[in-house]
Symmetry: C5
Subunit: 367 residues, 5 copies
């Protein structure tokens, strides 16, 4: 049982991939520089175009091909996936073609950018973190631009578990997505990412409970480090989720022309989801913050056990050792020494003392 708990705990606590050491502070405002660690991911632009009747995909297109395809079918909805942010030139080209503000391009390439919502006349820019469990907990920079008939999603990695099901729904005409506009596609992508936060919150819940159980029942198998790792994970997830909550709140109150009235109710629902995720995380934060106290209390209880054994042993034998010491003295004149039954009397006295002490400790509930 114990080892199972321990492994349950360890399974999730590989430390987070922090994107530490920034390559360079971006010094010229509006300069597009990729600061992430995924240099091995080559840039690829894919297109998924659909309307109520048709749905087709094309992969690995150039920016000009994309533009041509989007312009060719103004009535369809186009989901442009830009994966791998290393190739800043393609990003800039895309920015030129779709008339995107340079500061937005900077924020797309800057993988350390915190969640952000920026409304422009013709498009809305939204960036948040995609959080998923891929061996360890990964926080991936994810950006979205929504225009009147297109959505461009920017992703650092080729990880697709979170959005796979959404693509299926589009192909299979499941739900209302094929009949709705680019604003609904935008909502659906954000919703898929936020729904995945639930899984993360559940992982935190499982870890917390496993750790709590270890601390209470097998304190010797854990250390403050485990608590600290969990604390950091929660802080890290919270850091991304909390500002996203604020932004979705702003989003569902916006009156930007891109958002149709009936999409508003879905954004409201989305806000409700992220509110629930945040509350769950906060409850587990409260619990984890209390675990250090519990750990110290458990440690101190174990210590007490050790001390009690020492005390009982010492306290029983200290007077006895004194007594035998007394009769080890070499005085010429010690009347007891020559008594025939003295040895047995001393043993009796010692056993009585030991018993009295044992009973005293029993009464005090020391063992």
């Amino acid at each position: 049982m114990k080892s199972k708990l321990k492994s349950t705990f360890q399974q999730f606590t590989k430390p987070i991939q922090f994107q530490k050491k920034s390559k360079v502070q971006n010094l010229v405002p509006g300069e597009v520089t990729y600061v992430g660690d995924n240099d091995h991911v080559s840039t690829e632009i894919d297109l998924l175009s659909y309307n109520a009747d048709d749905c087709e995909t094309s992969t690995n297109l150039s920016v000009s091909e994309i533009k041509a395809l989007v312009d060719a079918e103004p009535e369809s909805i186009h989901w442009i996936s830009f994966t791998g942010l290393k190739d800043v030139n393609q990003l800039t080209e895309l920015g030129d073609v779709f008339k995107i503000h340079p500061l937005v391009l900077e924020d797309i390439a800057n993988t350390k950018q915190r969640p952000k919502l920026d409304e422009f006349k013709d498009y809305i820019f939204f960036t948040l973190k995609m959080i998923y469990h891929n061996n360890s907990l990964v926080k991936e920079h994810f950006a979205l631009i929504v225009g009147d008939n297109y959505v461009i999603s920017f992703q650092e990695n080729r990880y697709d578990d979170v959005l796979k099901f959404l693509r299926e729904r589009i192909f299979l005409k499941k739900g209302r997505i094929r009949d709705a506009g680019s604003d609904y596609l935008f909502y659906a992508i954000v919703d898929a990412i936020v729904d995945n936060y639930y899984n993360i919150a559940e992982t935190i819940e499982l870890q917390t409970e496993a750790l709590e159980d270890i601390i209470l029942n097998h304190t010797e198998n854990t250390s403050p480090q485990d608590i600290q790792i969990l604390k950091r994970q929660i802080l890290s997830v919270r850091k991304s989720v909390a500002p996203t909550k604020e932004l979705i709140n702003r989003l569902h109150q916006t009156d930007h022309k891109l958002f149709k009235l009936k999409t508003k109710r879905f954004l409201n629902d989305l806000y409700d989801h992220i509110l629930q995720v945040t509350e769950n995380i906060d409850i587990y934060r409260d619990i984890v913050w209390g675990l250090m106290d519990m750990y110290m209390s458990s440690t101190s209880n174990n210590m007490n056990q050790v001390m009690k054994v020492l005390t009982i042993m010492s306290t029983i034998f200290i007077p006895l050792t004194f007594i035998v010491g007394v009769y080890g003295m070499n005085f010429t004149y010690m009347p007891e020494l020559d008594l025939k039954s003295a040895y047995y009397i001393v043993w009796t006295i010692m056993i009585v003392i030991a018993l009295v002490l044992v009973i005293y400790f029993k009464r005090k509930k020391w063992f």
Copy 2:
């Protein structure tokens, strides 16, 4: 006394039925999926129709029968009880007949939904948690839809203690309910659930006081786990009650046409009730959060007692044992050994030392 306290405490601390592991993340927005654990509860729809003069009930109806009965008496108030959320088809059918938005149906079936208030043109949707003590603390998903002449309540279980008395009042024409509209029925149902929160708050109060008493007087009978369980219970109850408070606040400020002016004062009163419950819970939260400190302090006090006994015993006997050791040495030339009264002198010295130390410890208040 002590064992009674302990049992008082244990009686309430069976851990909460957490609805952990969600069956499936609901991936298509607006898709109605039941995620709860009560698969054994079959779906049943009952109707309670009343006006100032008459009052009748019919049980186990189909959705179309319900619709017919409601339409037949437009002047009466109809309370439709939908119990058991497993049968999603009946729920969808009901949604179609009463023209309920798909996202609302999704929230009704999603038993993990946090408290929520949604106003539509023709009806208001409100979901909260029914919390009661049925062996252990149970948090049950409860949803309400109020239209102009009907109220539909959705419940996961067939547990009826909380609302039984309300049904009686309708039958017996007690209070003003038979003369009032659907808005007052809605208020009365929510009021019954909120009034029951008082019982939960009182249970928390009793548990806290019992635990506090155990920690102070019988520390050895408790463990940090007891405190942690109580913490979690309070966090869990608070998680449901706090957002409900916000919603009732919004409710009593709404200007939806369904709510008549004279019902407003009752909603105001309801808000007052839930405010009081929240304050009580928060006070006990504060107290429970301080219990861990008290526990550690008590444990540490006990430890001190143990250490003092060890110290007193050791400190008294250590010099004595040294003295008897001295006269156990086998030197050929030790003048004291041959003195006739030496043995008695040594005993006298040892008793004096012991007395001096005992008096010293008495002065220091060590025992």
Copy 3:
């Protein structure tokens, strides 16, 4: 000194009379039920009528007599004291005669009601807690209704210390009260109750300082329980005072026709008073919350003293005891044993060792 402090502390810390176990949850909204514990206090209605010239009192009247007396002198101000809330019938009768809303009557009888302010067209309802020291700390439910020429005060007990001085002022024409209206009487009553909060805050101050002193200087005379009791007292007082503060703030901003402009400045002053009380309580809350740390630190310091004595004794005698043990060995060939001065040499060596250790500990500041 110490015992004086202790008694100073105990004098105030008789635990608060919590009105625990509610008799019954009030299930029908608007039903008037007395839930308090003072069943022995019989209901009595008194009247104090005054204007600039006259002032008369009549005691133990019926509701209809009251009504007649109030209607007879419309120009006078009438203070109706309703003492003892047990007799719900008289309360309902009074409610009928003065046209008071049933929910207000419910709140008057419900002694567990939190502070509340409710404005109606013809009267204002205000309920707060009268807190006083009568052997132990008592929190008494107190309600006020102010109309154009009358004020009705509802009180659970016949305790009169808080308001006695106000009655005297009316009789003796002290201050401006006899020339002012019912709004000023209302203000004067609330002011008397709030002024008494100062005494409570001062008691908390005295207790905190006494306890702090005990913890620092006589830790053995206290226990975490004392701190916990004080914490609870502060929480309990704060629970009543904090919402009252909010309500008085609302009160002095109201534009209800009953409140004349020149009374507003007095309400502003009242708000200032309760703000000051709240701030004082909060400062002592902060201090008391830190006392547990101080207690643990004091306890741990005492423990260190104990441990140091043990360590010093052990560390000095352990090597000495070893040395005497060496010369207690019975080897046939031990050259030192036969040396004539060996015994004295061993004593010298032992005294040197002991002195070295004593100096070492002195240097380390262990005693």
Copy 4:
């Protein structure tokens, strides 16, 4: 070094003069009662009149003389200093002559009044605390009334260090004060008091750093009491400064006719000053709140040192003492006893054991 730190610390930590036990609760609203402790300070009214050209002072005037002098030169600015609040009659007389509201007079005499700002049609009332170091930390009640051509300052004591420099500036025509109106004089007085808060904040800073140093390096020279005293000082100062900050904020936003536009920028600057003081105090509050943890940690580290010495001594000598005990046994048949080299062998074994243990402890970094 150490003793210097200690004295630096003690120099400032004489406990604050709390104005405890109020003489009497002021029961009649608007009744002017002096509640302070400075009964020995006789009341004295001084006048400092100036305009751009002249500047004269007269001391120890009667209220009517003051009034005459103020009315005689309506174009000058008059600073009336009312020192010593004991003589309530003179205060009331002044109130009558300058038409001051009775509640304001009550607040002037009530030295326990919290900071307060009250705007009337013809004058503004402002009360705050003058905090200074005069042997111990003193918080003195200070009130100001500013009219169109006069400022009245009310002070409990004849302490003048804080305002002395301002008086000099008026005499010496330093800065713009002689050309400005009563609003600027008002600003200058408040500014002098607030500037003095910087000194207090700096004292707190010095004390905190001295205490921190003592705790880290000479834990045995301090006690939790020192931390508690510092905590209380900070709480006490903060209690006066924080509400003053709010009031100055309100002051610089007021549109009272008395304040000229160009004085506004100075009030804004004043607000900036008090904001900075508050922030500094709050930072030191944070640090002091952490000192108790540091103290406990230091204490516990010292304890560990003690325990390690005990453990090392015990653990080394316990097996050795056992060995010498073995050869102290009196068995007739113990072959080793008669070996010639046995004694030396035993010594060798014992030294080896001791060395092994010493090396083991060295490895464990125990000393």
Copy 5:
């Protein structure tokens, strides 16, 4: 590894240069007094003038020369660098020439001034702290005045790392700066300083992680002092960054005529940057605040190890020493003494007891 961590930690933890003891409290409002410590830095005024085509610098000018140069080219943008605040006369002269309010000059010279934004009709005043790592962490007072065609920057030291790159960009026509107005130059300077905050936040991150690692793995190499120093650093940085955040928020919402619409988006971006810095600092604050607990827990764990060794040694040898004591007694009649195998039997018994105890401790997981 360990020593590397330690040095990583120490490298950054040289205590902050606190600008303690103020030289003099500035008593006359609007009097310009330099209060900083950099008396050795002589005042120097440089000018960098540029427009889309040209760019020239002149160093060490007098105030009148500056004025002449600025007036000569009204179409260019002039960046006036005022370095070294010691020479208050030049500062006042500059203030006269550019018509700057005396209170602003006071704030420029007052190096202890907190971040502040003040809008005047013709110019905007902004002061913040430049924080950089120059051996130790330095917080330098930095002030900016922006007019229609000039920006004046005031700096205490000649440290230029933070702004060097910005100057290069102007020279090299990198980015849009040469085509933009004085508002963009103002933005670019503030942006350079805020971007440098990232480096500071990253340093804090590295220190925290190094310290965390030391505490967990090499507790004996650290002390509460290290945690306290880090706490103070974070508090000190936060004290400067947090108000700057507020001011930049106000700045990007201002409608001052100096700020062109297209500069607004850049200020918005700037606000986003400082928000992210603040969030990072706050997360590390949370972590550092938890380190003391971790340290105490680690210390207490080490203590437990020490105690366990003591307990094991004592508990094993205490009964054995008692046994050998028994047979060291000198009773004439002790039958065992004469048994031939008694000595070996006693040894066997002792070894069995020792083994039993060792197994018992193994079971208890004590070693």
